[in-house]
């Protein structure tokens, strides 16, 4: 058995070293397939990051009348926080609202002058409420409208924001569906191209396979070297992809952080290094071996 394995491995390795052109073509196609899968993995997390940053920006605000005291508002905040649909509640006092506005518009002299002319603080104290999902904002708004502190509420801005919130969440949901379909399509295309390239390479060896059968070789003795060859191609494709993606994320990591603060591709790549190694190695070697296995099978019937 050891001799058999040794011969199969030796033969597979020799075939690789003698058919350099064919092996290079197989490796190139496998690099494309592995790169597609790795990119999809990276993009999935990039899009999750973007989606969650969009979702983070969605909330509703409850503005309280000028005569509502801070104690009353904080009590309401506690009550609101008890609603199961609510993820987070943040209290913004009149002073904080004014400071935030002034800070945001400090470079706009007209607005700042208008604020000065008003004299008093025109802003309401408010609660910013964030729900887990878009559909839950209606329930939160209903709770606020039917509660015993309705008298203290100046306005709930849910109804003005409702169309925007629904659009954002429907966009996110559509993007997820499109992303999944697109990913599946890309995976199918990448896998089919890799499979067909290996199948063509093995097709060119069909006469050799026939001769091997006629000389008395068992199916595994014939199939083995092709599987080893497929695994070797897959392994080299994995190494190339790993180097390419390390370089790519290292170069473009800071740029992604500049575009999307908090998202550095290189940091993400390093944090998920072993998962990416697993994806690349298993897809490379797996594709090489499984494609060879299927492609050789049809020539072994003689």
């Amino acid at each position: 058995m050891t001799t058999l394995f040794k011969r199969i491995f030796k033969s597979g390795w020799k075939n690789c070293s003698r058919e350099k052109g064919l092996v290079a073509a197989n490796i190139f196609i496998l690099v494309l397939a592995i790169s597609t899968l790795t990119s999809l993995y990276l993009l999935k997390d990039v899009s999750n990051f973007l989606v969650s940053s969009i979702q983070e920006k969605v909330d509703i605000s409850v503005y309280f009348k000028i005569d509502a005291t801070e104690e009353e508002i904080l009590k309401i905040k506690e009550e609101v926080a008890q609603i199961p649909e609510v993820k987070e509640v943040k209290y913004v006092s009149q002073e904080e609202a004014l400071a935030s506005f002034s800070d945001r518009h400090k470079d706009d002299p007209v607005l700042m002058q208008s604020l000065d002319e008003i004299g008093d603080n025109p802003f309401y104290a408010s609660l910013n409420i964030r729900a887990f999902e878009a559909s839950q904002y209606q329930a939160v708004a209903d709770f606020l409208n039917n509660s015993n502190f309705t008298g203290l509420v100046e306005k709930v801005d849910y109804y003005q924001r409702k169309p925007v919130i629904e659009k954002i969440f429907s966009f996110v949901s559509n993007m997820n569906t499109i992303g999944i379909i697109f990913s599946f399509l890309l995976i199918i295309i990448a896998v089919s191209i890799a499979f067909n390239t290996i199948r063509l390479a093995i097709y060119s060896s069909r006469e050799e396979i026939k001769i091997q059968r006629l000389v008395g070789a068992s199916n595994w003795f014939i199939r083995g070297p092709f599987l080893v060859q497929g695994a070797i191609c897959g392994f080299f494709a994995f190494l190339i992809c790993l180097i390419l993606f390390t370089l790519f994320t290292w170069i473009f990591g800071p740029k992604t952080e500049f575009l999307f603060p908090g998202l550095n591709l290189f940091t993400f790549f390093i944090a998920n290094f072993w998962i990416i190694v697993f994806i690349q190695l298993s897809s490379g070697v797996g594709l090489g071996v499984v494609s060879s296995l299927i492609a050789v099978r049809r020539h072994l019937k003689i």
Partner: protein, 226 residues
């Protein structure tokens, strides 16, 4: 050892490569099959090797019906046969040494045995200095000698030789024929298909003559008559 019972092989409705052929080859026998091109000699070998199935009739090898053997049983059957093909059928990705060694590798011979026997056979067929060459670098005669060496190396029970001297010069032809006779004397059955009249007449062994897929003559100590 090999038995054909009323075997026919029809490729298309108009062409019968073999038509109701029956004969038997005994152990240690030396049988020559003669006939014009297209008379069915190669088809006969293909059927023994189970490369093709007969349209009708039965073929036995060592009392086992060849066409009923399952795909996974075929390697075992083929290892008992050493075949020299008309078109050599060498493995183009392997060099001369590896082509010959392959027949021993498939039967699970040890590396030492392979090294020793391949060197010996290369010496016999006069290709020691071509051991590292690939088939594409060899002449027709050299390819034929590699094919013969591969057929002999694992000491099969039967050697099927389809035109083994077709590309050889008279000197090499004589050598190869001497080799086949020597192997036969050592107990290996030999079935030889050839066009070479001189060879057949000098052998003084059994001759089966095929014409249009039928056996028209089967004689002990036969001669080449067409």
């Amino acid at each position: 050892m090999i038995k054909f019972q009323n075997v026919s092989k029809i490729y298309s409705s108009k062409t019968a490569a073999l038509d109701g052929v029956s004969f038997e080859v005994n152990k240690k026998e030396f049988v020559s099959i003669v006939g014009k091109s297209g008379s069915g000699k190669t088809t006969l070998f293909k059927l023994i090797l189970a490369e093709e199935k007969p349209t009708s009739g039965r073929i036995f090898f060592d009392s086992k019906e060849v066409q009923k053997a399952k795909v996974k049983e075929l390697p075992e059957l083929r290892r008992k046969i050493g075949a020299v093909f008309q078109d050599y059928k060498l493995l183009h990705s392997k060099n001369v040494y590896e082509n010959i060694a392959y027949a021993m590798e498939v039967i699970g011979a040890s590396d030492e045995e392979i090294k020793k026997d391949v060197a010996e056979v290369l010496e016999i067929v006069g290709l020691t200095n071509r051991a590292n060459n690939f088939p594409v670098e060899l002449s027709g005669g050299e390819k034929q000698r590699v094919a013969i060496a591969r057929a002999l190396i694992h000491r099969p029970e039967v050697i099927l030789a389809d035109e083994p001297t077709g590309n050889l010069d008279p000197y090499n032809t004589l050598d190869i024929m001497r080799l086949l006779l020597k192997i036969n004397e050592a107990g290996t059955t030999v079935v030889l298909a050839t066009h070479n009249k001189d060879i057949i007449n000098s052998l003084d062994k059994r001759v089966i003559t095929l014409q249009d897929g039928k056996i028209i003559r089967d004689e002990e100590n036969g001669r080449f008559i067409l």
